[in-house]
Symmetry: C2
Subunit: 205 residues, 2 copies
């Protein structure tokens, strides 16, 4: 399909729609409407129809969407109709939580290795993983062709490690370190920092 350039703000909502559709499918539903989906995700039905229409025709007026079909198409658009190998750099509490988290594999992501530079941690296990030496990180990325890395590092190390990973071929970073990281235009970065999210709400309290 020929996809026109779609604004980031729209593509950012598609994973939210996919997550809600997955929950409907898990509950045994077969079809939904923009109205129903909108109520699940807190977005207007009109906005959902507009967002989805950016990528082609998905539903017929009055009959709603086939949940399976819409999920398949969203997975295709988001390129999670496959499994991406992902590495985690940093085996602290957050690295542990991610290693044990079961919610990635069914959404397109498989954590394949966890790295740390702490000699006391290297060789220890977290679930099915053996913590690997971060001295071997760059070689691993180059040999495996890994494109996605999750950083659960101290702020002071995040930029340096990010630069090395990008140099080795990583193109998407999910950063848990509480610091902004500079990346070239061909590399995507997303941030998870609970204090930032909390501060976005206290403004309104």
């Amino acid at each position: 399909m020929d996809v026109k350039k779609v604004p980031d703000i729209i593509t950012a909502r598609l994973p939210v729609y996919l997550r809600a559709l997955q929950r409907m499918a898990d509950a045994g539903l077969k079809t939904t409407s923009s109205q129903e989906l909108g109520e699940k995700v807190g977005i207007s039905a009109a906005q959902i129809r507009k967002d989805v229409s950016q990528f082609g025709e998905f539903g017929k007026q009055g009959t709603g969407y086939s949940i399976d079909y819409l999920m398949d198409r969203l997975r295709e658009i988001l390129k999670v109709n496959r499994i991406w190998d992902v590495i985690v750099v940093g085996a602290g509490d957050m690295g542990h939580a991610l290693a044990n988290y079961q919610g990635l594999i069914n959404r397109g992501f498989n954590i394949v290795a966890i790295f740390d530079n702490n000699q006391e941690k290297i060789g220890q296990t977290i679930g099915d993983y053996v913590i690997e030496d971060s001295d071997n990180l760059i070689e691993y990325v180059k040999e495996s062709g890994i494109k996605i890395a999750i950083l659960t590092l101290p702020a002071s190390a995040a930029q340096i490690v990010a630069d090395e990973l990008i140099e080795a071929g990583v193109r998407a970073l999910l950063n848990y370190a509480p610091v902004s990281i500079a990346t070239p235009p061909n590399v995507k970065i997303q941030y998870i920092d609970p204090a930032i999210h909390l501060q976005r709400m206290t403004y309104y309290l």
Copy 2:
């Protein structure tokens, strides 16, 4: 100060500026420019000047911003010139990671209690916390006047617990459960779901 209605997209960037300024202050810097700050956070200098000017005059042309002064003002705007008590509901891996996380207290948030409904977890300790029985959650919220809760629950429980918390007086929810939660207009909600963030990047890979 009389603050006009500022778009959400602008207020959402203020915590990112504050975080970058804090790092500059930690490094011993006293002043910065919109150019320098922009490079740290990946936002144009013009955008930063525009965002900050929504809230009054902060810097003089050519002399830049006093880091301490700008931080003080941003903390005041974001209402983190005080410490907010926060509860965590759900003592799984993510609850553990949050309880041990040192990065909230110096940014305006103090986790005061952690709750779970698992009888085997109740009474166990995480760091300085004793896991409390979620049967006591609502009474705790009402008596303490807690306004902010972090949910690290299974998706199936998140809406029910959120409804109860809101009924008890909570006005801001940070939700780690992989599900959208419906909230009334006077309640703020933010989401942390690593799969959503990862899917926002694979679209571009």
